[in-house]
Amino acid sequence: MSENQQKEYWRWKEYNWKNPEIPDWKGGLVTAGVDVGSTSSQAVICVDGQLYAYASMRTGSDSPSSALNAINWAMEGTGLTLQDINFTVGTGYGRVNVPFANKAVTEIACHARGANFMYGPSVRTLLDMGGQDCKAIHCDDKGKVTSFLMNDKCAAGTGRGMEVFANLLAVSIEDVGDMSFNVETEPDPVSSTCVVFAKTEATGLLRAGWSKEKVLAAYCSAMASRVVSLLERNGMELDFAITGGIAKNPGVVKRIEKLLGVQALTPKYDTQIAGALGGALFAKALVEKSAKVAK
């Protein structure tokens, strides 16, 4: 087997981060959101509703341990233990399998809340491009969902589809977007967005002499048109923002913007943590609400 085949091109960076502006969590209200997605898991820790620390990693075959790994990594170096967290909201595909969560909330509500924090209250239309599905969400100025639409039952237009292409073309997933602009003229999108069929189609295109860049451009553009039709079915209202892993792929984002004729807001944080962040913010609201009831 050649070295090329052994390399996992789809593998994106797993990492953790701690906010240098918050020196200590002690004395604050510590809440967490854990988003166990189909493909990636994130844990976000907030102190008094401010982003304090987070971690992002691949979801394993077992949701409870993926959730634990993510929160442990987010807590690394902070001195926090699970006992110090006042309230945890589980979200994502594995939301009911987060063993230390106090409540489960769907990622649809969490992403809208997270996007409200990340992009500000002007966001009205949100596109969450996740590992195995994508969602068009409308929300109000508080980040409350007013309507949503999800894609149907396949991986077309999702992160997993992009991973399959990165592997097929032996291009690192983080380079896919930029590379896809390296074409003289923009090719037509691959005609099938089904990941399995698109892969077959791409193999044919490579054999016909297309460059990797051109095939990537054709796939990014197919993915963009697929999600644009989802957005249009739900209606577009500005401002527009994108969350989820694919938001980091300019090859898809710029093509979506071009098709829609709108610019997406520029993210201040990692777009992949929006769901977990929304969960941590909901956790804060839930703690405060129960404190009020207790009084």
Binding site: Y93, V105, I108, A109, D133, F148, M150, A285
Partner: protein, 375 residues
């Protein structure tokens, strides 16, 4: 309290076979709720509805077009796999194209002694539909008479009308109770009532409904009611989905608009000297299926009335995949509900519903209504 109805639904075939043995009568399978059961009851024939089995199957592929709905496919599979091997007859009233193909293919592959295609008019909003349907009912009655060897008198027809009308009246009285703040029955229980009525002898069913009606007023659903939901759209006998929405997601269906629900029994035959005309009028005037709801979309106002009467907070709109008549109606229905600030969730049904993906959609939909707790 609902065990009997659930059992009837789950062991429909055993019930029908047992009925045949007990009574020595004939059983007819019907494909669409526009079949005039009054005439069949008048002839002492037991009509049972041919519904799907919600199991993957591999027998219909050569017989049904690829883009036809999963329901018609599932129904035909039941025939081809001999699940209804006790039937003496089959019948369909002109329904959608998809279900008609299920009927004609069943008829071709599993012939029985009586098979009848009743040309129910689609254009029920035309005045001509009344005399037209009456004349077709004359032919249908004659065919049934020839088949059973029994001449149907006005007294027979009156008896048939009374049996079916009583069933409709009782179901409606029970459904009326669902308007309460805490309904005495869940959506799933209501579903069992209507579905079992389509596959049992209505005389027995009426007796059970009467007993239930005596007991229900004191009963309250034990769990929290949660959001009051309506479910509407194409044929729906998907028990696992209904169970999930009510038991896992914590909402309650308080009303529906399905041909396996209210559309089936909402209207009674209004007695007239001309019995067949009275029956024809009932089918022309009933809450329409989308194949018959044009050029005016009368169902939209009906649905809005139900939403108001049953204080519905949200509506789940379901459609059998590829069901064109419903697909064409759904945007208008969703828009009209949006106009009165009632949120809707659209789901596409297949032979089996994907519970995981549907659960997240339903939960997010409910959260949208209850998310004040989160802010």
């Amino acid at each position: 309290m609902f065990e009997q109805f659930k059992n009837w639904f789950e062991s429909r075939h055993d019930y029908a076979k047992d009925w045949k043995e007990r009574t020595g009568g004939k059983v007819i399978g019907y494909f669409c709720t526009y079949v005039p059961e009054e005439i069949l009851y008048a002839a002492d024939v037991l009509p049972v509805r041919c519904l799907g089995g919600h199991e993957p199957q591999d027998v219909t592929e050569p017989h049904i077009f690829g883009m036809f709905c999963p329901f018609c496919r599932d129904v035909l599979a039941q025939g081809l796999k001999d699940k209804f091997d006790y039937l003496d007859g089959i019948t369909i009233s002109q329904s959608c194209l998809h279900l008609r193909q299920a009927y004609t293919s069943w008829d071709m592959h599993k012939p029985v002694e009586f098979s009848y295609y009743l040309p129910m008019p689609h254009h029920v909003q035309s005045l001509a539909s009344r005399p037209f349907l009456r004349s077709e009912l004359v032919k249908f009655k004659e065919a049934v008479e020839k088949w059973t060897g029994k001449t149907l008198t006005d007294a027979d027809l009156d008896r048939g009308i009374e049996i079916v009308n009583t069933n409709r009246r009782l179901l409606k009285q029970i459904f009326e109770l669902r308007k309460a703040d805490v309904p005495p029955l869940t959506g799933l229980e209501a579903m069992y009532l209507v579905l079992s009525s389509q596959m049992t002898d209505k005389r027995e069913h009426n007796k059970a409904l009467k007993e239930l009606l005596d007991q229900l007023p004191g009963r309250k659903v034990e769990r929290e009611i949660g959001e009051r939901l309506m479910i509407l759209g194409s044929e729906n006998d998907d028990v696992p989905f209904t169970e999930m929405v009510e038991d896992v997601c914590g909402a309650t269906f308080v009303i529906d608009d399905h041909c396996t629900g209210t559309r089936y029994f909402w209207n009674e035959v209004i007695p007239k000297e001309d019995r067949l005309q009275a029956i024809a009028d009932r089918y022309v005037d009933r809450v329409p299926c989308p194949t018959k709801d044009w050029p005016k979309r009368l169902r939209v106002d009906h649905i809005k009335n139900l939403v108001e009467e049953y204080r519905v907070q949200g509506v789940i709109v379901v459609q059998q995949k590829f069901c064109d008549p419903h697909e064409l109606d759904i945007p208008a229905i969703q828009q009209s509900l949006k106009d009165i600030d009632v949120p809707t969730l659209f789901l596409e049904f297949d032979v089996t519903a994907p519970l995981g993906p549907f659960r997240i959609r339903v939960e997010a939909f409910l959260e949208m209504m209850r998310q004040d707790d989160l802010f």
